[in-house]
Symmetry: C2
Subunit: 281 residues, 2 copies
């Protein structure tokens, strides 16, 4: 089911590369063009079957596209997409895969005179691994992609973007950009912050005393530091609010430990276990 | 290499069961006797090749043993091992697999008139899974087991216990019981507390917005609530001290986010990534 003649992926890393593989495998697009900073990596991605072609000149790729997906770090999406809106041909749809949405959507929402339209997206899939070498066509299967339409989003663009994410295997949920950022502060950004704090405080001489518990809990702290610095800054307020809520929860647990209130502690650990059990592996 | 004629495992769950499988596979003991609360589970463990036999009467098992390993929850080890010290035959060695050590060692250290001797152990292996059904002979391979000898520990007992853990595949490190508890508060108990706090505060309607980051970070919160209540209580002081240290680290990260100090944030996330990268997968 061909949805777009030409797809351009901006930033062909783990997410962008997986989008390319999935879109090609499922024949959702005729051409898949890649653009990015590193032309050697783009050439390798073409050889790996992620792209049908790549361009050094971004404007050229934008002008050839029916759908453009920005998979670059969240602090780069706004200026890059503004350029795409400027130079693209009429009716081009632009979306992204950024982990924060409110600032991006606020700057890019609406459509211009030529009907070029931006709609925010966030596929909830990823890994602490970085780069197209880890890309896989199945990355989005059984995962949720959040799209964040606004009052100015046309139903045309919304349906097309929705079908695209469904086409590569994910379930699509609509939220406002603000709801997205509040929820993701809890489900993604706070866990990352905690993992980084925990890994960062481990004395070197105790590394050998870590087992699977520590390793699981801190795994995402191996993620790219620059990428996550940008995410934390873009979602500052919601993340700090989630952290405050976390500190209260931690304090309640500590009080139960301090006061030897085993019943309270048991019941809090049991409630947490039920939540975790419900998520599956 | 036969080390002990008769090994008794008290509490044949994930850890106890894996000890039985590993000891039998490597022929470290002639007989492997299991005792526990659930005789049907013991019978199943015998059928699964974990045990050569089991006893309903614990004293009978204690009296037949050369090595007794307590794999019961940490708040049960002291009274159970005291009974074993009372009834065992001369020269029996007693150890455990408990996640906390100071209180246990303080109560049980030294040897009595018959040369029955307790030496604390903690194999750093495990899982959020529970029960002998998840036992495997390879659980201790390439893992560290900490032993916690005191000034009254004989070199005879220390060498024998050390050889036993090495015999089932692990690397043995000696620490004082207090050092153990301080280190494990950082590397195991605090991660568990954070995972439980994070899982416990997740609103039900946002469960569908969790991806691998949240799942990894909270995986251990699926551990047994009673077992961990006991561990947190037994290691109260070191755990609360580690939590305080964590709160300072988190606060430093939050201040960098709040003040938009991207360089500071980047450098803290980068340092955490280096620690995590050094641990491997």
């Amino acid at each position: 089911m061909m949805l777009f003649d030409t797809l351009t992926i901006v930033g062909v890393g783990l997410i962008g590369g997986s989008i390319g593989l999935a879109a090609r495998e499922r024949a959702l697009c005729g051409k898949v063009i890649g653009v990015g900073r590193n032309v050697e990596a783009l050439q390798r991605s073409k050889e790996a079957g992620i792209l049908t072609e790549w361009r050094e000149n971004w404007d050229e790729a934008f002008q050839a596209s029916d759908l453009i997906v920005f998979c670059t770090p969240v602090d780069q999406i706004i200026p890059q997409a503004q350029r795409a809106i400027e130079v693209s041909k009429p009716n081009t749809i632009i979306t992204d895969a950024g982990s924060t949405k409110a600032k991006i959507v606020q700057k890019l929402q609406g459509n211009n005179d030529h009907g070029i339209e931006f709609l925010g997206s966030h596929p909830l899939a990823g890994s602490e691994k970085k780069g197209a070498d880890f890309a896989r066509a199945t990355l989005f299967e059984q995962r949720v992609t959040i799209i964040t339409p606004t009052s100015s989003t046309t139903s045309f663009a919304k349906e097309r973007v929705k079908k695209f994410w469904q086409g590569i295997g994910s379930q699509v949920v609509e939220l406002s950009a603000e709801e997205h950022d509040t929820a993701l502060a809890y489900t993604s950004h706070l866990p990352h912050l905690l993992a980084s704090a925990l890994a960062g405080m481990l004395p070197a001489e105790w590394q050998k005393f870590t087992a699977s518990g520590f390793r699981d809990t801190t795994r995402i702290a191996a993620g790219d530091a620059a990428l996550w610095t940008a995410i934390f800054q873009e979602n500052r307020e919601a993340l700090l609010a989630a952290t405050q809520r976390f500190q209260l929860q931690l304090q309640e647990l500590c009080q139960a430990i301090q006061s030897e209130d085993s019943n309270k502690l048991l019941s809090m650990l049991h409630q947490a276990k039920q939540v975790r059990d419900a998520l599956g592996n």
